[in-house]
């Protein structure tokens, strides 16, 4: 197998995720797209690790696990924020959330 098979698949998933983050209106869907991005990164970590031999393979796996953990934390906090937005404004439409415009 080529390394690039995995890396390109990672790139494709990453870009789909980016599209989702930028184009989706619903907060929950944006968080899902972020999961796509994180998965793409994980594929890269594991694939690149296994290029270099056993030690690097283990390193790649360990970091992939760390990313999974962080993804879990991110979803937890992210969903809490979305819930808060929903509670305060009765919508999860991110276009409506533009308090930062000053």
């Amino acid at each position: 197998m080529l390394v690039n098979q995995f890396l390109l698949l990672g790139a494709v998933l990453f870009c789909i995720g980016v599209y989702g983050v930028l184009a989706r209106r619903n907060g929950v869907l944006v968080l899902m797209s972020i999961e796509l991005i994180l998965n793409a990164v994980n594929i890269n970590l594991v694939a690149l690790g296994s290029v270099q031999g056993p030690e690097a393979a283990v390193a790649g796996q360990v970091f992939a696990l760390f990313v999974v953990t962080i993804a879990a934390a991110e979803v937890g906090v992210g969903l809490a924020i979305v819930l808060l937005i929903y509670r305060n404004r009765s919508t999860v439409d991110l276009d409506e959330v533009d308090l930062m415009k000053g």
Partner: protein, 172 residues
């Protein structure tokens, strides 16, 4: 080798199509279910790369926990269960162009730098050796020796996220 390539092709195709559906579907619940498909195929890809533990974690945590969290999120925010027409905002085209542009750049870079590099074949390696070198045991050893400090830091981060999520979401 050929069998692996065929498996990869199928998994990659499934993952890509399902991922596209996640970001285009008009039904929020369907998006979550398509996400399950993506996550499962990525998990299967880890098995192809001889990363069994990551694959297991992918299934357990992503599909078992995170997607369920998403479903709860969908439920609690009372999203319409069913087709919704305006799930995308008006900058969809900008987003598509950005994504495609990024994909182009990434593809170019990857092809340029990795070209036809092969993954080292694992065919000659015995199962025992493989397990000893990069199996679950090896990963566990690495986490609790070499990567102990990052591991502890992440556990603190997880705790902080837990506290943060409760503080944010509780009603008072």
């Amino acid at each position: 080798m050929i069998a692996q390539n065929i498996a990869f092709a199928i998994l990659a195709l499934v993952a890509t199509l399902a991922a596209l559906r996640v970001v285009t579907t008009r039904n929020v619940v369907h998006a979550a279910l398509y996400l399950v498909v993506v996550l499962a195929s990525v998990g299967a890809l880890y098995v192809l790369l001889a990363a069994e533990f990551v694959a297991a974690v992918q299934i357990l945590i992503y599909i078992g926990a995170i997607v369920v969290l998403f479903l709860f999120g969908i439920m609690l925010t009372r999203a319409t269960i069913g087709v919704e027409s305006d799930l995308d905002n008006d900058q969809r085209w900008i987003a598509a162009i950005t994504g495609l542009f990024l994909l182009g750049v990434l593809t170019f870079v990857l092809v340029e730098s990795f070209g036809d590099d092969q993954l080292p074949g694992l065919a000659g390696v015995s199962r025992e050796e493989l397990t000893a070198q990069r199996g679950t045991g090896a990963v566990g050893d690495a986490i609790f020796s070499t990567y102990l400090v990052p591991f502890e830091v992440i556990s603190v981060l997880l705790l902080a996220a837990l506290v943060g999520a409760i503080v944010l979401a509780r009603r008072d």
